[in-house]
């Protein structure tokens, strides 16, 4: 059993080492993306995860990021791409994508640091709450914003007619039991997939509130798997919900 701080090691017939080194080599053109067996790497990684007790969301999401990048690059290398300028080779295009993607990552990191610095500074509380009192310089307002404001008014108007929801058929306690047993079986729940499989608006609402309640009570951790924008829910403590 490896310790908590060991990085995941990729083992294939042509490459052995940490995953980010693999990505580095591909980026440096030392390794052809076509030779990388992504399905094998992914399957092995999943097997590795299964053998571990508990989940470290930040490490796992990092793997997902890396794997997603590889899959994206590979899918682009396998699929015909209509609008690629002809003089640019497939490989150059891939490298370009990867470098562009790296830039986005760097910019994101920079913005994140800037965000962190800014969140240390507190404004007066009125600012956030009296938002509707702010004045808009007219030149800042586009026709689209005007449309958006109208759209909001209409939506508000419409929603007034749908405000009464009864929930006699589902209880939060029952939903909680159901979610716990799902977690015990699968280890995690994909938030949007789970909600989309439910039958009625009513059930979706009750389930949604149950999930929120469980997150609030620290029974669950919600992890946004960055690249995909979907949310996964994991049991909060390793081992707590083991089979």
């Amino acid at each position: 059993m490896q310790t908590e701080f060991d990085g995941y090691q990729v083992q294939t017939e042509f490459f052995a080492g940490p995953l980010d080194l693999l990505l580095h080599l591909i980026r440096k053109n030392k390794l052809k993306i076509m030779e990388v067996r992504l399905s094998q790497i992914t399957a092995e990684y999943l097997a590795y995860l299964e053998n571990r007790r508990g989940i470290n969301p930040s490490r796992e999401s990092e793997f997902l990021m890396t794997a997603a990048t590889l899959i994206y690059i590979k899918s682009r290398s396998l699929l015909p791409k209509p609008e690629i300028p002809s003089e640019e080779s497939e490989e150059k295009q891939l490298m370009h994508t990867l470098i562009e993607y790296e830039k986005i990552q760097k910019i994101s990191r920079m913005l994140q640091e800037m965000e962190y610095t800014e969140l240390l500074l507190w404004r007066r509380l009125e600012m956030n709450e009296n938002f509707s009192n702010r004045e808009y310089a007219l030149k800042e307002v586009s026709a689209f914003q005007l449309a958006e404001i109208f759209f909001d008014i209409i939506k508000k108007k419409e929603s007034e007619q749908f405000l009464t929801i009864s929930s006699k058929n589902y209880s939060i306690a029952e939903k909680k039991e159901e979610i716990l047993s799902l977690l015990a079986g699968r280890g995690f729940i994909d938030f949007s997939e789970y909600l989309s499989r439910l039958d009625s608006i009513e059930e979706i609402l009750v389930s949604f509130f149950t999930l929120l309640e469980m997150i609030k009570c620290h029974l669950l951790i919600a992890v946004q798997e960055q690249l995909f924008g979907t949310i996964s829910l994991y049991p909060n403590q390793a081992g707590q919900l083991d089979n």
């Binding site: 509380l125 009192n133 004045e135 808009y136 307002v141 586009s142 026709a143 005007l146 924008g229």
Partner: protein, 190 residues
């Protein structure tokens, strides 16, 4: 309490009062600063007051103790000038209320005040007047219903402000619906 500790406590009290939107009970701040002794707390407040009022004419703020608690307020001798600043007419600025009203008129024109107020759920006399003054809307006629209310429509200036050639260039609601309500496409990784 060392001078450094006292300074830190004063800074914390100032920051807490600055961020708070309402007066803060002294007891809450004492608890926060882990001070049991009221005399010790008084020393902090006095240091602040002395600083604000006596030693630092360049401060625009002062500490106010009222029934509800402690609060930062501006110094009274600045009031006249502050009033001047905050009533300055900002001709090119619109409030959200005005923008809402304008959006209803743009999409539903010609519209009456009653129709606008009904959609917004609040009386919209103020915003309509404001928009008339700014020449973004005008009265185009009267509705043939009891009371003959005025009908409002957008102006040429409105088109110029929003960079439109004519009203048909306003984004359609279908486009927006698509944008805001579109179901997410299945992702790669499912």
């Amino acid at each position: 309490m060392s001078p450094e500790q006292l300074q830190r406590q004063v800074a914390l009290v100032e920051a807490v009062l600055f961020v708070s939107k309402e007066p803060v009970e002294p007891g809450r701040i004492m608890e926060f600063l882990e001070i049991q002794d009221i005399a010790e707390f008084e020393k902090i407040l006095e240091a602040m007051e002395k600083d604000y009022l006596l030693e630092r004419p360049e401060r625009g703020l002062q500490l106010k103790r009222s029934g509800g608690g402690l609060q930062l307020v501006t110094k009274p001798d600045l009031h006249d000038e502050l009033k001047r600043f905050f009533t300055v007419k900002q001709s090119a600025k619109l409030t959200l209320a005005s923008l809402e009203t304008l959006s209803i008129i743009a999409y539903r024109q010609p519209a009456t005040l009653a129709e606008i107020s009904d959609m917004r759920g609040v009386n919209s006399t103020g915003p309509v007047k404001n928009l008339l003054q700014k020449k973004l809307i005008r009265i185009t006629g009267r509705k043939k219903v009891p009371g003959l209310p005025a009908l409002y429509a957008t102006t040429q200036e409105f088109l110029v402000y929003f960079g439109l050639n004519d009203l048909s260039e306003l984004p359609s609601l279908e486009e927006l619906t698509e944008l805001f309500e579109e179901k997410e496409q299945p992702s790669l990784f499912k």
